[in-house]
């Protein structure tokens, strides 16, 4: 059985299941309860700035913790709690706020297990909203998964649809490693069939969401839909595209990437982030490094430009990868 949910509802459901099935799971963050345990006083709760966690505090009043606006304190505390037996789910309102809490992720969560010679586990999940598309401008629209994906010790996932979001979040919460779970703004509004009940989508496994033999379009998060739309238009011209949804940026499903490359010989990677040191560049490098003999054309990257995210609507739309730019990239491969 499944029903149509949006991404936020799927996330909410995943957290509910995780908390129900494991008493060590706690939810912390700014406004995650949002004043919401005053049963009977007629006051409703916020459930986070986007209302994603609304209602959870009613089910788990002791384990949904509103925090002060102290990202360093929140994430640092969550790392300490994770190291000592809890399984915290932290909401970092927007990934842009990574700047205020990088140390607990970069130097603590990512490193403790290694520095301690394997004698620690950090089962921490940081949920965060990522990317452009809401005219939130330069400090609330970045796609910074490339930073966390580049830090050994952290895992980074980014679902492209509500069903994957639920399964990936459950897998993330139950993973004994720190996982950064990105909720792309471009996907937040999308609805889709979401299975009921408890299921996990394995971290590190990409998903081939469309099959075609002529070109491989590789996306993740919000760019999967961009690839799909481009693939439809290309099909009208007789070019059939594989569309690979990476889902997990670290660990990266290198095998799936190389498999689609071997099949089509040409790859276009579509990444919402800026191009330098990006996932797109990483995938392109992988194709050249490990898949060189399969390449029939140059690997093309479709990314945002190397600039902050602009506010103005037309500028923001032009900033984001579009199906037209993907098609242009395919054409430029010859």
């Amino acid at each position: 059985m499944s029903r149509k949910l949006n991404l936020g509802m799927a996330v909410n459901e995943a957290i509910h299941i995780a908390m129900e099935t494991d008493p060590d799971v706690i939810l912390m963050g700014e406004d995650v309860a949002g004043g919401g345990d005053r049963e009977g006083d007629g006051i409703d709760e916020m459930g986070g700035v986007l209302g994603t966690t609304k209602g959870l505090v009613k089910s788990f009043p002791d384990r949904v913790l509103d925090t002060p606006i102290s990202e360093m304190g929140i994430v640092g505390t969550a790392v300490g709690a994770a190291a000592t037996g809890m399984r915290p789910v932290v909401e970092l309102m927007f990934v842009d706020f990574l700047g205020t809490c990088l140390d607990p992720l970069l130097n603590q969560a990512a490193k403790l297990r290694y520095m301690f010679g394997g004698k620690a586990r950090i089962p921490l999940t940081v949920r965060t909203v990522s990317g452009a598309g809401m005219q939130a401008a330069a400090q609330h629209s970045q796609s910074l998964y490339w930073m966390t994906a580049g830090i050994p010790g952290l895992k980074t996932v980014i679902p492209s649809n509500p069903a994957d979001a639920k399964g990936l979040l459950l897998a993330s919460i139950r993973d004994d490693n720190p996982v950064i779970f990105c909720e792309a703004k471009l996907v937040l509004g999308a609805t889709g069939e979401v299975p009921e009940g408890d299921y996990e989508v394995p971290i590190g496994k990409a998903s081939l969401v469309r099959e075609g033999g002529d070109v491989s379009l590789i996306g993740f998060g919000g760019t999967v839909a961009v690839c799909q739309r481009a693939a439809k238009k290309l099909a009208a011209e007789g070019i059939e595209a594989d569309v690979l949804d990476l889902r997990s940026l670290q660990p990266l499903d290198e095998e799936a990437i190389l498999t689609t490359l071997a099949k089509t010989g040409r790859v276009v990677v579509v990444d919402e982030s800026t191009p330098r040191s990006s996932v797109a560049s990483d995938v392109a490098a992988l194709c050249v490094d490990q898949g060189f003999d399969s390449l029939e054309t140059p690997v093309k990257r479709v990314t945002a430009p190397h600039s902050p995210v602009p506010f103005s609507r037309p500028l923001e739309q032009a900033y984001l990868p579009s199906p037209e730019r993907v098609i242009e990239a395919v054409r430029s491969q010859g």
Binding site: G76, G80, A81, T84
Partner: protein
Amino acid sequence: MRPTPIESNPGRSQNTGQNTGESSAMNLTREQLLDAYRKMRMIRAFEEKLGELVAAGKMGGFMHLYAGEEAVAVGVCAQLGQRDTVASTHRGHGHCIAKGVDVGAMMAELFGRASGTCKGKGGSMHIADVEKGMLGANGIVGAGIPLTTGAALTAKLKRSGGVAVAFFGDGATNQGAFHESLNMAANWKLPALYVVENNGFGEFTPTEFVVPVKDIAVRAGSYAMESAIADGMDFFDVYEKAGEALEHCRSGHGPVLLECKTYRFAGHFVGDPLVYRSKEEAEDWIQNRDPLDRFESHCVEAQLVDADDLRQIDHAVQEELEAAVEAAEAAPFPDLSEITTDVYYTPPGEGGAR
């Protein structure tokens, strides 16, 4: 979880004072006293040995020695049990020894050997033994403070009765992590003991150059949190104040900030030219306030232990240390394949994560 409404509590600062002799420390048994001395002596000897080894070029890495501050680590940790955790600093060897981490494994770790506490992958600034409740030395100033807040949150949610202790320097109290943590811990009434080791210098800069308050303990006031000040060179004073603080934490009254006034005998790190402090000042602390000397004279005068007992401990510590060095030097380095292990936890039966 909602915060319990907080009663007006401006924080409580106590003046440093000599031990009055009417404290809980006076109830320590002879065995407890000898064990405390043994730990302090081991810390001192360990750090002196490291100084030699680094100078002789036998040991690498950044090395920050704890000599002079032994009474703080031992005075606090002597009252901690298995359920309690400790988060430490880059100057962390003392806390490890005080919390009961194996000295042989520590020495092997500092030599980068596979038999080290952390398989040779942590080194001086990252010695940890989570099984002993030791959440690690930490190379980032102030980073252990939120970790402790988190450990205290675990203790509270799991009702373990444990207390999470963070040791950190005066410098760390200028970090946002300190203030954010104290705010959260006080708000949630977490069982956390924040021990600031105020040794008068943040790296090379005198504390008063960068901190406008004379006593760091007063910073607790902003968070309506208990605080105390102890003579960090006096085992008995630290023991007593820490004991009261731990009791406060354990009984669910929330966190405490304990400031221990102390002094590091060596510089910030091994190789520090020490140009920023006067020889006279250092000599005064080292000659007149050495925590081991003070412990001995107090105990011997009060006829709690014999000086001979202590000399025997000195001898045994030295022997243990020599053996630890010998074993560490003879131990194998980690296999090169260890470079990429322990990056991620992989459940048994699953392939290694990439």
